[in-house]
């Protein structure tokens, strides 16, 4: 059993933010201008106090703590939503009520308590998802500027999410193909394997933005020399440089995992396989691959999470995806738009990590 006291840290942060935080909500004249900050005690309805006992039970060392933390988070969010709607009443139509730093800090701290490793975590996460859905469905959050931005951009966000998923999967697939070939070559010659390892390690040192930038003129020259490639759907900007660049980054964790998994097989087992008359192919399919599976899944998990993150940068070279929303928001100084791109990226990365982590533990 892990000690109980570390849970007090996020709980304390949430309390401090709610009691002394200067900026729980702010009312701005439009989506780009900064607004006037308001403290939680000045703006939240009285029933928001209910979240305090829930917060304290959520920090206490008992089985139901994550559930209490989820309830606290939902109460707080509902209160913030109602307060935002109240602020907007009578204001100009372009006015926006935006969540401030204190509110974000309190929400994030409560989320940490919900997802804290321990029993009832999955149940609490389900409760949270259900509650969020209900709040959104009931229009309780509609006053918050993030929801306003989302309603205005609903189609664009959905399309960006799909593109993001597709790009991540494609980059992962490309990297897997490259890493598998390099790993097999490395299995035949240890020297070659070490060389590829160093090569891909070198790629990691190049910043992603620089690598994408480098790939654009290289691809342009390549497409100029072989116009047929353009007909095949390749372009010097857009998805092509992003996919190639991201795949190069992802290849290193995949190659490392493949190499470790393929070479970690017990020599006695390999000797037995040889003595029983297995050829190279059979030994790979029957012995090396299944025995290396936990290693492969570990590498795949790292690479998949990295893919979701790196595809965000693909927005810079016109690949689309949630990154495009983030960079558009940055260009406009529209914080809500940035968050509209960034929050799904974070959720996606966490979901991929949790899903593959569960698979890894089962293997």
């Amino acid at each position: 059993m892990t000690p109980a006291w570390p849970r007090l840290l996020p709980a304390g942060l949430a309390l401090v933010a709610l009691i002394w935080g200067q900026d729980a909500l702010s009312l701005a004249p439009n989506r780009l201008m900064p607004g006037a900050p308001l403290m939680a005690r000045d703006v939240l309805p009285g029933w928001a106090l209910l979240s305090l006992p829930l917060l304290l039970t959520g920090a206490a060392p008992w089985r139901g703590a994550p559930l209490a933390a989820a309830a606290a988070l939902l109460v707080l969010l509902a209160a913030l939503g109602m307060a935002a709607a109240g602020l907007l009443e009578g204001a100009a139509p372009a006015a926006r009520a935006t969540l401030g730093a204190a509110a974000w800090l309190a929400l994030a701290a409560l989320a940490a308590l919900v997802f804290w490793p321990g029993p009832a975590r999955v149940l609490a996460a389900a409760l949270l998802a259900l509650g969020l859905g209900a709040l959104a469905w009931g229009g309780v959050l509609d006053g918050l500027s993030l929801a306003v931005e989302f309603h205005a951009r609903r189609e664009a966000v959905a399309a960006a999410l799909l593109t993001h998923l597709w790009l991540s999967l494609a980059a992962l697939g490309l990297a897997l193909a490259l890493a598998s070939m390099l790993a097999l070559a490395g299995l035949a010659s240890a020297r070659l394997g070490a060389f590829f390892d160093t090569l891909l390690g070198g790629v990691q040192v190049v910043p992603a933005i620089a690598l994408f930038g480098l790939l654009v003129p290289v691809l342009a020259a390549l497409l100029g020399a072989f116009p047929g490639l353009r007909a095949a759907g390749l372009g010097a900007i857009g998805a092509t440089p992003a996919l190639i660049g991201i795949a190069l980054y992802l290849s290193l964790p995949l190659l490392r995992a493949l190499r470790t998994g393929l070479t970690a097989t017990d020599p006695a087992v390999l000797q037995a396989a040889t003595a029983l008359g297995m050829g190279r192919g059979r030994m790979l399919a029957w012995v090396r691959l299944p025995l290396g599976l936990p290693h492969f899944l570990g590498g795949l998990r790292v690479a998949a999470v990295q893919a979701v993150g790196l595809v965000t940068l693909g927005g810079l070279v016109g690949a689309g995806g949630l990154g495009a929303l983030v960079f558009e928001g940055m260009a406009q100084f529209a914080t809500d738009l940035i968050l509209l791109g960034a929050l799904p990226v974070v959720a996606l990365a966490l979901a991929v990590d949790a899903g593959l982590g569960a698979m890894e533990r089962r293997a």
């Binding site: 017990d266 006695a268 087992v269 390999l270 000797q271 037995a272 396989a273 040889t274 003595a275 029983l276 008359g277 297995m278 050829g279 059979r282 029957w286 012995v287 299944p290 025995l291």
Partner: protein
């Protein structure tokens, strides 16, 4: 069945095997014995091309192994090793069925064969679905043996097969091997560094030292005096004498002429060791073997 013809094996600068010529007849249980580093494992691995000779020829069933397809050759020769090398991700049944699966047998035939083999090596059929990690050392070694016998090879190679189990289990497994050898009539080539084990199991002995052949032949003949000094040093004089007694039969040593009236009776198939024990127990210097007799002096080397 297996012939080594002036075989040498070189690993870099070192010569592991030097000019060994020896033939192992079909149905023999030949034991390769010698101190560690004597090249016995290398000699064994030449048979299924796990090692390649730098000079000379190795023939299996009359054919030069250098010309055989290595995978096919290995599937036709059973192989058991000290570390067993069972596949940890497969059930016992699937481990045993490896070579039949490689040979493309249909599933039902493999399943039937696995059942047969579990019975042959006296393993509880309930173990078939277990993983190797759940087995004791002795059970794992029996699975290794069953796996080697799966496709019914006429030749079985065993590299220190009982090295990793405790002495009691080792004794049990040796008895089991003798039984299986008698029941199946396979040609077995076994490597051990333990002279007692060699003497207990072998019908044929091949003694190696520093990569060279010291002695080879039928165990009874090799154990008879005058044994070469190296053999005496390797086995110890007592073990050698006892082993000789257990290999020779009463019927071969008995003398013509009837025994005294009170002499205890012994069957001609009994070993001289059993005759010696009977003499000790009864205090009788002479035993009756049908119409002939066996005096204690006949037990001494001539």
């Amino acid at each position: 069945m297996i012939e080594f013809d002036d075989v040498s094996v070189r690993f870099g600068a070192a010569e592991a095997v030097r000019g060994v010529s020896v033939a192992i007849p079909p149905g023999a249980l030949a034991v390769l014995v010698g101190p560690s580093g004597s090249g016995k494992t290398t000699l064994l691995r030449l048979v299924n091309r796990m090692a390649t000779p730098s000079a000379g020829q190795v023939r299996v069933r009359g054919e030069d192994v250098a010309l055989a397809d290595p995978a096919r050759l290995r599937r036709s020769v059973g192989y058991v090793m000290q570390s067993m090398g069972l596949f940890p991700h497969w059930s016992v049944a699937r481990n045993i069925g490896t070579v039949p699966a490689l040979l493309g047998w249909p599933q039902p035939r493999i399943a039937a064969r696995v059942e047969e083999l579990l019975a042959l090596v006296r393993l509880d059929p309930a173990l078939a679905q277990r993983r190797p990690a759940a087995l004791s050392g002795g059970q794992a070694q029996r699975v290794g043996l069953a796996r080697a016998l799966a496709a019914d090879p006429d030749i079985l190679l065993m590299d220190e097969p009982f090295g990793a189990v405790d002495p009691i289990v080792r004794r049990e497994l040796r008895a089991e091997l003798t039984r299986i050898h008698a029941a199946t009539g396979k040609t077995i080539l076994l490597v051990t560094h333990d002279p007692i084990e060699a003497l207990e199991l072998a019908t044929h002995l091949i003694v190696l030292r520093e990569g060279q052949l010291v002695a080879a032949g039928e165990a009874a003949a090799l154990a008879a005096p005058p044994a070469a000094p190296f053999l005496r040093a390797l086995f110890g004089p007592e073990a050698l004498a006892l082993r000789r007694l257990s290999l020779l039969r009463v019927g071969d040593a008995a003398l013509d002429g009837p025994a005294p009236d009170a002499a205890p009776e012994i069957a001609p198939e009994a070993s001289l060791a059993e005759a010696w024990i009977l003499m000790q127990e009864r205090g009788a210097p002479v035993l009756a073997v049908g119409a002939r007799h066996l005096p204690w002096s006949a037990l001494l080397p001539r």
